[in-house]
C-alpha cells in the first residue's frame, strides 16, 4: 500500500515537472481562472444592490453559502477535475496505455495531469468563506468550528463523486461533455445560492434527490445559527458527510461498471 502511494507521489511529481516546461501557460491559467471565479461573486453583488434579502437570506449569509460551495467545488476540481479528460482518453483510445499498468485506472487518470494551476481557486473560495463568516459575526462554538472543517471536506467529496459519476458516461457516450458539465457546474451554481430561491420540482430534484442541499445549504445554516425557512431541523447539516460518502461510493460503482464497458479504438 505504502509503496503504491509512493508510485503515485512520483507520478504527481513527474506531472509537475512536465507542466513546468510550459511556464507561461501555467501563470496565465492561474490568473485567468481566478478572474473568472471573481465574476460569479460580482453577479451576487449585483443582485443585492437591488434587493436587501434574497429569499430570506442577506448578502453576508448568501456569501457564506457561496464560499462553502466554492471551497468544496474547487477542492474537488483540484483533486479529480482531471477526470474530465477521460472523454479524450476514451475517444482516442489512449486509455489502453493506462490499463496496462499495475495501478488503478482512476488513480492514474487523476494524477496524469494534476491541476496545480487550480490551487488559486481553493484559496479564493476559502478566503471568501472566512471573510463572509467574519462579517456575519458568527458566534463560534466547538460544534460550529468542527462543522467549518467538515463541511468543505464533505462538499469536496460530494463533488468528487459527481465528477467521477458524470464523466463515466463517456464510456457509453463520447459526446457526453455538456451533459456532464450541466450536472457538475450546474450543481455548483445551484449550491452557491440558498435553495429557498428555487421552486417546485427543480428544487426537489437538485436539493434532495441529487443531494446538493447538503453541500452548502444545511451546513451553512448550522454555521450561521439560522433557522431553515423551509423548517428543517438544524442538525441536518451533520448529514452532509454521510450524503457525500454515499455519492462517492455510488460513483465508484458506476466507474467500475464503466471501465468494463471501455471499447477502445481500432488498432
Amino acid at each position: 500500500m505504502g509503496e503504491t502511494l509512493g508510485a503515485y507521489v512520483k507520478l504527481i511529481g513527474a506531472q509537475g515537472r512536465g507542466q513546468a516546461s510550459y511556464r507561461v501557460s501555467f501563470w496565465l491559467d492561474l490568473t485567468g481562472t481566478t478572474i473568472l471565479v471573481g465574476a460569479d461573486l460580482i453577479a451576487i453583488l449585483v443582485i443585492f444592490s437591488r434587493v436587501p434579502l434574497l429569499a430570506g437570506f442577506s448578502l453576508k449569509e448568501t456569501i457564506v453559502l457561496f464560499g462553502l460551495a466554492a471551497t468544496g467545488f474547487s477542492l474537488a476540481d483540484l483533486l479529480v477535475g482531471n477526470i474530465e479528460k477521460i472523454r479524450a482518453y476514451v475517444r482516442l483510445g489512449t486509455l489502453d496505455t493506462v490499463m496496462i499498468r499495475p495501478l488503478s485506472v482512476l488513480g492514474q487518470l487523476l494524477v496524469l495531469d494534476v491541476g496545480f494551476r487550480r490551487v488559486g481557486r481553493v484559496v479564493y473560495g476559502a478566503t471568501l468563506l472566512g471573510v463572509a463568516l467574519w462579517a456575519a459575526e458568527v458566534h463560534w462554538t466547538p460544534a460550529k468550528l468542527a462543522m467549518l472543517v467538515v463541511a468543505p471536506l464533505a462538499g469536496a467529496a460530494f463533488f468528487c463523486g459527481f465528477f467521477i459519476a458524470t464523466s463515466t458516461v463517456a464510456f457509453w457516450w463520447i459526446e457526453s461533455g455538456e451533459v456532464a458539465n450541466s450536472f457538475t457546474y450546474g450543481g455548483r451554481d445551484f449550491t452557491s445560492y440558498p435553495i429557498t430561491i428555487y421552486g417546485g420540482w427543480f428544487r426537489k430534484i437538485f436539493a434532495f434527490a441529487l443531494g446538493f442541499a447538503f453541500v452548502a445549504y444545511y451546513p451553512g445554516l448550522f454555521l450561521l445559527g439560522k433557522a431553515d425557512p423551509l423548517g428543517a431541523p438544524a442538525w441536518l447539516g451533520w448529514l452532509s458527510p454521510l450524503v457525500s460518502a454515499a455519492v462517492l461510493g455510488l460513483s465508484a460503482l458506476i466507474w467500475r461498471f464503466g471501465v468494463r464497458h471501455y471499447r477502445s479504438t481500432g488498432s
Partner: protein, 331 residues
C-alpha cells in the same frame, strides 16, 4: 502449461448504422468471433490479419484492456480483466500507434517512473536498463524529452519501457509500423535476441511480413474474427498451394507450348532485349523437367527460380473469403 490460453473468445461491438435521415439502427458486429489459442512459454507467435480482422481486439482482451463478450481467457494463469493489476506486472505491452512514455519528460525519467510503478528493485532495474541501452543504443537520446524523439528512437524507448519489469510475455501491437528500414532492423534484431533466450514469450501483430519471417516460427492468421491458420510458415505455404516461379529469358520464342504436369505459363513479356516467360510450379512438382526442357530449346539466355513469397500467400488467404469487413468495426 500454456502461458496463454483462450477458448471460444468473442468480442462483440454494437454499432449504430444510419439507415435514414434521422433513423439509426443498431446492430451487433463480432470483431473477434470464437478464437481458441494455446501458446506455450517461450514461443514467438506472429498474429496476422487484414485491417479490421480482430488482431488488436484479441490483444486487448489478452492484456485486460477489453472485457470479452464471451469465452474463456487465461494469461499467466490470470483472468485478464478481473485480475488486471496482477497480470500487468507479468506482461509488457508495446503499442506501435500510441506512446506509453511521459511526453514532456526526458526518456530517462520515464524509465525511473516505471521502476516505481512496477516496484522493481534498483539493481534489477539497472541491469535490465543497461542491457537495453547497449542493444538499442539509447544513450544518445536518454536525456531528450520524449516529444522530441524521432519515431524510431521513441519505439526503442517503448520497447525498453515494456521490458524493465522483466515481463514473462511481451505483447507488441504493430511494433514496426512507420519505422524506417534501419530502425525496423534494430527492433527486429532486438526481438530476435530476446526471443532466442527462450524465457520471454512474444506475441506480435504486424502487417510487415518481414517481421514474421525474421522472428516467428508460428503464425496465427485471423480474418473476420476467426482463426484461419495456426501453424508454421511452411505449413501455410503447403496448405495454400504456394507456387515457385521460374522466370526464363529467351532469345527467340519457343516453337511449341510447354506442356508439363504442374507447370503453367503465367505471363509472357517481350522486350527489345529478350522474351521473358514466367512459369508457376505447383508445390510438389520438381522444376527439373521444365529447366531441362527450356535448356534443350537452345534459346535460353537466363533463368531464375523464385521461392514463394509469404506476401502472396497471405494476400490469397485474405481474398479467399468473400465478405468485406465493416469499416466501423474496431480492429
Amino acid at each position: 502449461m500454456n502461458i496463454i490460453e483462450t477458448r471460444d473468445l468473442r468480442k462483440e461491438f454494437t454499432v449504430s448504422v444510419k439507415t435514414g435521415k434521422l433513423r439509426r439502427s443498431r446492430r451487433t458486429v463480432a470483431a473477434v468471433d470464437g478464437v481458441s489459442l494455446a501458446i506455450q512459454r517461450g514461443e514467438i507467435v506472429g498474429y496476422l490479419g487484414p485491417n479490421g480482422a480482430g488482431k488488436s481486439t484479441t490483444l486487448k482482451m489478452l492484456t485486460g484492456v477489453l472485457t470479452p463478450s464471451s469465452g474463456e481467457v487465461a494469461v499467466c494463469g490470470f483472468k485478464p480483466v478481473p485480475q488486471r493489476l496482477k497480470l500487468a506486472r507479468r506482461i509488457g505491452v508495446v503499442f506501435g500507434q500510441r506512446s506509453t512514455l511521459w511526453w514532456d519528460l526526458p526518456l530517462r525519467d520515464s524509465f525511473e517512473l516505471l521502476r516505481h510503478i512496477y516496484r522493481v528493485p534498483p539493481a534489477e532495474h539497472e541491469a535490465r536498463l543497461a542491457k537495453c541501452r547497449a542493444m538499442l543504443e539509447l544513450d544518445e537520446f536518454l536525456d531528450t524529452p520524449v516529444r522530441q524523439l524521432s519515431l524510431g528512437q521513441r519505439m526503442r524507448g517503448e520497447l525498453t519501457a515494456a521490458l524493465l519489469h522483466g515481463p514473462e510475455i511481451l505483447f507488441l501491437d504493430e511494433p514496426t509500423i512507420g519505422l524506417d528500414v534501419v530502425s525496423k532492423q534494430a527492433v527486429r534484431e532486438f526481438l530476435a535476441e530476446l526471443g532466442g533466450r527462450g524465457d520471454t514469450t512474444i506475441v506480435l501483430t504486424t502487417h510487415d511480413l518481414a517481421d514474421i519471417e525474421r522472428l516467428c516460427r508460428r503464425i496465427v492468421v485471423i480474418d473476420h474474427g476467426r482463426v484461419v491458420h495456426d501453424g508454421s510458415i511452411e505449413a501455410l505455404h503447403a496448405r495454400y498451394g504456394s507456387r515457385r516461379r521460374v522466370i526464363a529469358d529467351l532469345d527467340e520464342p519457343l516453337t511449341a507450348e510447354v506442356d508439363l504436369p504442374g507447370v503453367r505459363l503465367e505471363s509472357s513479356l517481350e522486350s527489345s532485349l529478350a522474351l521473358r516467360l514466367t512459369f508457376t510450379i505447383d508445390g510438389s512438382t520438381s522444376v527439373g523437367p521444365l529447366v531441362s526442357h527450356l535448356a534443350a530449346s537452345g534459346r535460353l539466355r537466363d533463368l531464375t527460380i523464385a521461392e514463394p513469397e509469404i506476401e502472396d500467400v497471405i494476400a490469397r488467404l485474405y481474398q479467399s473469403d468473400a465478405p468485406v469487413p465493416l469499416q466501423s468495426q474496431p480492429a
